[in-house]
Amino acid sequence: MKILIAISSKEFSVPTLSAGMKIAQSFKAKATIVDVGEKINDFSLKEVSMAQERMDSWDIDRPGVDVLEWAFEYLAQNKMINTSSIDAGFPKNTLIEKGSSRAEVFLEGSASDDVNLILRNGNIIEELRDEVQSEGYDVTIIGASQKRGMAYDLIQYIDSSIFVANNYNPNQSYRILLAVDDSPATKKTVKYGVRVAQAFGIGVDILTISTKEEFGEDYKNAASWAAKLLRRSGIEHKNRFEVGDPSDLIASNAGEDHIIVMGASSSNPLKTLFKSSKPLKVLENCKCPILIVK
């Protein structure tokens, strides 16, 4: 399993990195930490690269290296990489250019599989999409953004499950809010929910929502299947059934002390473009971390 963790700065990315590495550990996954820097336009690409080569010769770090160095220190402090890597220090000299806008450092992981540190330059959605497509990540972990349209772009265009570390506080205690329904994605969603609950060592609230008063058999079966899996995994859980608008109810039930785990929309993307979708509405309205499983 492969997990991509997108960070941006030491000031804002502690929650994202903390949550991301916890999830990577729970899945025993190969983690890649990426910092996406500003896009350099075509007119200046070579000139900027020439200036950065001169900076290297003066031993001045190019932008983004400080962010990776901070990530390295975080991994070292939390013993997430092997002692030999920690002792050797941040290996910025082994930052290998791969293509015009991608450079990477490889580290041996201790708690998870290997850990990669990557620098990319460009539009964040384009770069993450390209990284996910070329390396085949299963989950992309990213901090919340105030940018308009960012939530839509993430859900629609990144071809992996998405974990948004919205207001995530590593010191707060959370529960999982596992949204189940009759969709085909529910089974995978429940499996991911179990792994995340194990990673964080927390209980799960299974939430089944119907827009009608009567709950169909498929809804009930999905809820009981989720409960069975959680019981077998030894995770404390509660079952809740509610009637109303699923997006509103998931966001309001989650409050600020849950991590939402829900499936991605199976609607046609063209329809989603004009009519939105359940996960998109929840992501836009919730005040807590959310994992959208694809």
Partner: protein, 471 residues
Amino acid sequence: MPIFSNQSVANFLFWLSRKKWLVTAFFISISFFYLPTPEGLSSQGHRTLIIVLTALILIISESIPLPAVAILILIMQVILGVDTADGVASSFMSDAVFFIMGSLMLAVSIVHQGLDKRLALAIVNITGNKTWKIAFGFVAISAIMSSFIGEHTVAAMMLPVALSLIRNAGLDTGKATKLSTLLLFSIAYGCAIGSIGTPSGGGRNVIMIGYLSEFGLGRISYLEWMKYAYPLMLIEIPIAVAILWFTFTPNQKIMDSAVRKLKVSVAKSGKLNNNQIMAIIVFILVFLGWIFLSPIIGLGIVALTGVFFYLSFRLIEWQDITRRTNWGVIILFGAAISLGIQMKQTGAALWVAENVLYSLQFIFQDIEIIRWLFSVVLSGILTNLLSNAATVAVLGPIILDMGGNPIILGMATSISSAFAYLTIVASPTCMIIHSTGLVTSNDYFKAGWKLFLASIFLLFLTSTFYWPLLS
């Protein structure tokens, strides 16, 4: 079963979201193609203007790579019947394109020698340790050097000097401060100001000289250009320093220990080596060639002769040149110049010029002022959105068809296209300092608008009172 899977629809929507300007350009060009040709404009001129519009949309939106825009311009010229394939090919390559190619290769060769440490020592030896003097030194040396060897080269060499001083002052090179903003803008604005000084300061100057000569409107030699532009460049230096200093006044008024540390670190690099001495000699020969030989063999051939010497003396390897030269920009400028020539030949430039003059006569009565304002203000604005060489390549033929003194209007257009102070994308020097992560787009506007207005005012005074004395 739906015809298209959700994944393929999502892929299409993603492509559409990234290429919306390409699609827009396509529909605009198709719509304009089927509109009747305006009165007074030839059919070929009409089609040329469609290509100009399409190219402008694609360059500003960056929805496809620059070399693709260049290739599209060439294809459209032939397919729309503006010119034959041979005609397009011959207008694509000119001495101006040779010059742009040669100067980019020279830039790579000079930066490769690692002369920046010598430069650092020279700056701090001249300026001492007062911060305002260091900022003055950065602007002045960037301007004077970039007037001869091109702004990108100087910016690439000056950047580590500034960052090293910032680091030596005990500041984090990953965090913006007023000192870092002041020094980085001193480089970017110094380079922009300097690029007007001589023809070799920027490709756009050579494009304008090429147009003036090609259209039979006049010839300007290297030294004549300097007579017109160098005084203006020198006056702009202290003005830029004052604007930058009062906009980004740093807390550190003296940088004693930073300068000392810089001197120590530079001293470790030893004396000039043979390659560096040879590189300087070759460049001096190129400079002399531009002054004395360019009227006979052209500025581009002189620049390429310099590249020949750098390669022959093994001062740089061909692989290094190919890896670091921006070939996309060379192809684009070739295509833009070819389009400019077509604008002149098809009458499109004249049609636009006449319509602009006619429309603006309702606002300003004096046609001289209209010509001047159109050439300077539009070039200044476009250069901040597009690229200065592309601006001159496209606007040049229109402005030269407006009447009046072509030398004065041509020079004013070329010089105002160096006023790239307002945006990150305005020039590679602006992008170079932005790539450090220490300056934001707001910073460009904070100081940029003041320098932009001051530069336009100075250009007005120079072109009105000084240049007529030279004509």
